[in-house]
Symmetry: C2
Subunit: 164 residues, 2 copies
C-alpha cells in the first residue's frame, strides 16, 4: 500500500491531498489549501508554504509524493511566481524524504477522465465518482487529489507490469 500526497502548487494557493492506494483501490484521507497573502514578502510566503506543508506531512506520514508539472506560462512574472511556489513544495517534500514525481496537467486529466483535453468541471465530476468520501473540495485541493490519484494509477500500472 502507498500513502500518496499530491500537490497542486501556487504562490497564493497550494492545494494538497493525501490518499491511501492499493492497486485500483483508493481511500481518501485528507485535503486542503495553503493560502498566502499577496501583501506578504516572498520569503515569508515561501516559509509559510514550507511550514504548513511540513505539518501536513507530519500529520499524514505519506510515503510517496507527486506534484503537478509546470506548463510554460506566457506571462513571465507568473512563471517566476509559480517557479518559486513549486520549489518551496518540492524542497519541503525532499527535506522530508519524499522525492516527488512530476506530471503535466494533460497527463493528470487523462488519468482521471481519459482525455488530456478535459476541463476542470469534468475532472471534478469524475473525482466525485472515484472518491465520493472527499466531498466538496476547494478547487486547488481537488486538483491536488487528481495529482495523487494520477500518481497512484501510474505506480500501480508499473507494479502490474513488473509482476506480470
Amino acid at each position: 500500500m502507498a500513502r500518496v500526497i499530491g500537490i497542486d502548487p501556487g504562490l497564493q494557493h497550494t492545494g494538497w491531498a493525501v490518499i491511501d492506494s492499493q492497486g485500483s483501490s483508493i481511500k481518501f484521507l485528507g485535503a486542503g489549501v495553503i493560502h498566502t497573502l499577496p501583501g506578504n514578502s516572498l520569503p515569508s510566503r515561501l516559509l509559510q508554504i514550507h511550514n504548513e506543508l511540513a505539518k501536513v506531512i507530519v500529520q499524514y506520514c505519506p510515503n510517496d509524493a507527486a506534484i503537478e508539472d509546470t506548463y510554460i506560462n506566457k506571462n513571465y512574472a507568473s512563471s517566476l511566481k509559480l517557479g518559486h511556489a513549486r520549489a518551496a513544495s518540492i524542497l519541503t517534500l525532499c527535506i522530508n524524504g519524499l522525492i516527488p514525481a512530476e506530471y503535466p496537467a494533460k497527463v493528470i486529466k487523462r488519468a482521471i477522465v481519459g482525455s488530456g483535453k478535459a476541463d476542470k468541471t469534468q475532472v471534478a465530476y469524475m473525482l466525485k465518482f472515484l472518491v465520493p468520501l472527499a466531498g466538496e473540495l476547494a478547487s486547488d485541493a481537488s486538483d491536488a487529489l487528481a495529482v495523487a490519484i494520477c500518481h497512484s494509477n501510474y505506480t500501480s500500472a508499473d507494479q502490474n507490469r513488473i509482476a506480470s
Copy 2:
C-alpha cells in the same frame, strides 16, 4: 557587526559569499559556487542547493542575508528555472532563521561601481579594489560578494540615519 551571506541564485550555478561588515569596513570570510548537473532531476537539484547552502550557513553562522532579485527573463523556461533555484536558496535561508533582503541587479551594480549600468568587468574590478583578500573568484561567487556588500552598504546607511 553583521555577518552577511550574499546569494546569486541559479539552477545550474548558485554563488554564495560571506563577509563581516562594520560601518564601511568589510572583511571577506569565504565564497563559492554550488553546481548542479542539468542531467539530474529538478527535485534532486533543489535538494542539493538546499543541502550545500545549509552547510555553508552552519560553517559561517551569518546573522544577515541578501539575495539578487530576479529580473523578468524573456525566456519563460529560464524564468521558471531561476524561480525554482531562487526559492530553494530563499527557503533554506528562512529555515535557518535568515530572512533575506532582495536587491535588483541595477541596485547591486550601483552600490559597487556607482552606476546601475556597469558591466560585469567593472563590477569585478571594483570588488578586487574593495575586497582584495577575496582573490580571484568564480563569476557567480563574485556576484554573490557584490550582493553581500550591497546589503552591507544599505544597512550601514540605515544605521547611520537612525544614529543621526
